[in-house]
């Protein structure tokens, strides 16, 4: 039986033992002995204590005594040494065994190995500690809330921020620390999240320990157990005060810049700017003063929160070092900081006035233009002595910049308006409009003058169709072509006529060039000028020019004649003198034969020299550089008549014209031909100079002749000539006139012959003669002219001719 019991005891899942009330063991089961490696006899009595960890020993003994004393069952944990010397934790459970008298006579115990459980517990504890450390160490505010909204845990930062303890926190109602304005929304959102399990996300102001509210962003996430039930809410709160402040500032700046862009008045913008700074920096007053147009004094910009008595005493102060901080900042174009006006000495007249208004600190910063010029100053005043923080300095820099944009914008706007007005005026004066268009999309941007030129209302929706409607039908193809080249990004330069609704014509000149805008679209930019008046004056100019040419033609003929006369007169003079001398020598008694021979020889030489001049004259018109032109002989004739009309009237010559209507144009040197015609007219007029018994009639006739020739004849009623002289007329120096040189007809014939034509003269059946020439419409060979100097003989060493005007 005892053996049977012993086997049962040994089979129990634990180390089983019994001991006397004094702690002496009297039984240890075999598991106990196996574990400790102690022998049964060795362990009995006090021997078993050797298996207990010395650190746990006192407590163990105490515990055993307690059980004995109380008679109650007890539990205890202690480390036991294994046979190999390793200690493991065991759970001791012991019960007292009593005698019939109720006295404890023995303790029965069982020890279970809890080492593995202890280790697991320890691991959990370490982990928990680490988690807590992590939560506390997070640079954010973390709160754990129970599902009913009670704070389970608030991390160190939360407690520090709120200035409270975790105990106090536990008693707090949810949402208590939020700004009263934000609290209702916070609670509403929390209940919604708590009910639905939707994560919480909201921004609200949280009260700091010192009573200052700062903006926080709160995110809340539910933690769920394995069955999906929420058992905890985890809240992360991030301080977004700086961001909120930056956002507010940015919003304010945006509003200010919008005001600037919208073109709000300068004072409205500057006032809004002052208010924004006052709101952002708190407990301060702002003002803006500006340099007036002379740059010598300050004028009012804005000061919405400062008393008007203070402002009025500032306005008009000079910009210098003494007048005050704003004048000084503007003058020096640098920041002037006065931390305490009570001890300020720089502005003796200004300081008492500022102090009287309760201002004790003033920081004045110049407002500078883009090119660095001081436009004025932005000032911040405080009621207490104060030094600007770097944050405030940043703010000041930012806002003086915005102020400069606002001020410059107003100035630039004014300048732009002026320049726009000037441009419009310039366009009106010069009758030039400008335009731009996107060819592909048929979008057009016109200046006022362009609308004027086209005669469209500025409200008209301009399109190529509308443009082409105005263009004269005959010019449309060229404009369509210009539009096409513009579409290809090419330029165009063309003139066309606009047919206005009232039927008038406008001559316009377009110049445009293609370009690509930033998005790559082809844009055509150009100008259009109304050339109508210009064209008219050009026509008038052309007329004046041709009249001038007529005069020049006469002059050049005169010059030619004078030059010819001079060149021919020289040798003629020699000839006549020599001939006279010769005669006298021969008439002498005795005749000076040698002298006469010498003078006769010189006469011949001078005669040849004169002939040379004429030969060169002929050569001049027979070849050389003639300007070949298409000439209407009728028109050329009419021009000569118009030119000579006064002269002919004075000579009482009546001109009859019979100009053929079907005369073809000819290729000729217009000026030379007109000289020939002029010469014929003058000859005819001269020939009738002495005619008194009949009308001095001059008949000019043009007609087509054979072989594609045109013919012009001038018939006079003058002295005429005998048939025997018909050919000699054209010889040089042959003249029937008292004043004549006999050069004109010779030169004229040369000119006609250089045109491959023919010139002749016939006596009239009645009085007078008819001089005619005919020339081919299209000469077979080129025609030509040289300069007058070509008729001069080769320079003689001692006979250079310089014609001087007296």
């Amino acid at each position: 039986m005892e053996n049977e019991l012993s086997r049962v005891v040994d089979a129990l899942p634990g180390l089983v033992w019994t001991a006397l009330p004094d702690g002496h063991a009297d039984f240890l089961n075999s598991r106990w002995l196996e574990y400790t490696g102690l022998g049964s006899e060795e362990a009995k009595g006090k021997g078993w204590l050797a298996a207990i960890h010395s650190d746990d020993m006192p407590h163990l003994l105490e515990y055993l005594e307690t059980i004995v004393a109380s008679g109650e069952t007890g539990e205890f944990e202690a480390r036991m040494r294994r046979f190999d010397g390793a200690y493991r934790w065991f759970h001791f459970q012991a019960s007292p065994l009593r005698d019939p008298m109720g006295r404890v006579i023995r303790l029965c115990g069982i020890n279970r190995d809890i080492e593995d459980r202890r280790r697991a517990d320890e691991a959990v504890r370490v982990l928990e500690g680490r988690y807590r450390a992590i939560v506390d160490g997070l640079p954010a505010i973390v709160t754990l809330l129970s599902t009913d909204g009670h704070v389970e845990h608030a991390n160190r930062y939360m407690l520090e921020y709120l200035g409270t303890t975790s105990e106090e926190m536990r008693d707090r109602a949810v949402g208590q620390a939020f700004h009263p304005d934000d609290r209702p929304e916070v609670l509403k959102r929390w209940s919604h999240s708590a009910e639905t399990g939707v994560p919480y996300d909201f921004e609200a102001r949280l009260r700091r320990a010192d009573g200052v509210y700062r903006w926080f962003h709160t995110s809340g996430f539910p933690l769920r157990d394995t069955e999906g039930r929420i058992f905890l809410w985890y809240f992360l709160q991030t301080d977004i005060e700086d961001r909120k402040r930056a956002e507010a500032l940015l919003f304010g700046e945006k509003q200010l810049l919008e005001m600037v862009a919208r073109g709000d008045s300068r004072s409205a913008v500057l006032e809004a700017l002052c208010r924004l700074v006052e709101r952002t920096a708190s407990d301060c007053y702002c003002s803006v003063v500006l340099a007036d147009s002379s740059g010598k004094r300050v004028e009012h910009g804005a000061a919405p929160s400062l008393p008007s008595t203070f402002i009025n005493s500032i306005i008009g102060r000079p910009i210098n070092l003494e007048a005050g901080p704003c004048g000084m900042a503007t003058y020096l174009n640098e920041q002037i900081i006065s931390v305490d006006l009570t001890s300020e000495t720089r502005w003796p007249s200004w300081c008492p006035m500022a102090l009287k208004h309760g201002l004790q600190a003033c920081w004045s910063t110049p407002i500078s233009s883009a090119d660095g010029k001081a436009l004025g100053a932005f000032a911040i005043y405080h009621k207490d002595p104060k030094t600007p923080t770097s944050l405030l300095q940043d703010l000041i820099e930012q806002f003086t910049h915005i102020a400069s944009i606002a001020v410059e914008r107003v100035q630039n706007d004014a300048a732009l308006k002026r320049s726009e007005a000037l441009l419009a005026q310039a366009q009106t004066l010069s009758l030039t409009g400008s335009f731009g268009c996107y060819v592909a999309t048929d979008e057009h941007f016109w200046s006022g003058e362009t609308f004027n030129i086209f005669g469209y209302e500025t409200s008209a929706n301009i399109s190529f169709k509308l443009i082409l409607e105005r263009v004269h039908p005959e010019d449309r193809p060229s404009i369509e072509q210009a539009i096409e080249s513009a579409a290809n990004g090419l330029g165009c330069d063309c003139e066309c006529r606009l047919l206005m609704p009232d039927g008038t014509l406008k001559h316009v000149h377009f110049v445009a060039h293609g370009t690509r805008d930033h998005s790559g679209r082809v844009e055509c930019i150009g100008a259009v000028q109304d050339m109508t008046a210009h064209r008219r004056s050009e026509e008038a100019l052309g007329k004046a020019r041709s009249e001038l040419a007529h005069v020049a033609r006469v002059t050049s003929l005169g010059e030619l004649t004078a030059s010819i006369a001079h060149e021919v007169n020289q040798p003629l003079s020699g000839i006549i003198t020599n001939a006279g001398t010769c005669l006298r020598m021969l008439a002498a008694d005795p005749p000076n034969l040698d002298g006469a021979r010498e003078t006769a020889r010189r006469t011949i030489r001078d005669g040849n020299r004169a002939a040379d001049v004429v030969a060169r004259l002929r050569a001049l018109f027979a070849k050389g550089n003639t300007v070949a032109d298409t000439v209407d002989l009728n028109e050329a004739t009419r021009e000569v008549i118009a030119l000579l009309l006064k002269e002919l009237q004075r000579s009482r010559v009546v001109v009859h014209t019979e100009l053929a209507g079907d005369l073809p144009a000819i290729t000729a040197d217009r000026v030379q031909l007109q000289q020939v015609i002029l010469n014929l007219f003058l000859n005819a007029s001269d020939a009738m100079g002495g005619v008194e018994d009949r009308p001095r009639r001059l008949r000019v006739r043009t007609e087509r002749a054979e072989d594609d020739h045109v013919c012009l004849s001038v018939q006079d009623a003058g002295v005429g000539f005998g048939p025997e002289n018909a050919e000699r007329l054209f010889d040089a120096f042959y003249t029937t006139k008292l004043q004549g040189m006999g050069i004109g007809l010779s030169v004229s014939r040369s000119i006609v012959e250089s045109h491959q034509g023919r010139m002749w003269a016939v006596p009239n059946e009645g009085p007078g003669a008819t001089f005619s020439f005919s020339i081919p419409c299209r000469p077979a060979r080129p025609i030509g002219v040289n300069s007058v100097s070509a008729i001069r003989p080769p320079a003689e060493t001692d006979a250079q001719h310089i014609v001087r005007t007296l």
Binding site: N569, L583, L806
Partner: protein, 123 residues
Amino acid sequence: MVDRSLVSVIDDDKSVRESLPDLLNEFGFAAQAFSSAEEFLASIYVGQTKCLILDVAMPGMSGPDLQRELALRGQGIPIVFITARRDNGVRPRLIEAGAMECLFKPFSDTALLRALDAVFRGS
């Protein structure tokens, strides 16, 4: 023929310089020819010259230039101008300025003789 009066001819044209002195000799004058006013002024004949036959247009000093120069020097030599340029405005201007005559080239021997007669009859 010992005391023949000296007539000086100044012309840049060679034909004139060759032909006129012979004619002047025939008229009974002594004659000297110069191709320019400068040449004449530099010569020894200025003082002896009783009459000048002077071309108007010459390179360098012109006829009227010489006329003015002589007037400035106080040498009032009678002048008969000759010119190949037929300009009706010239003659009155030159006569106004003190010239005895102005002949247009080509001039006849009789016209010249008439002019010289006028000069020497006057002196």
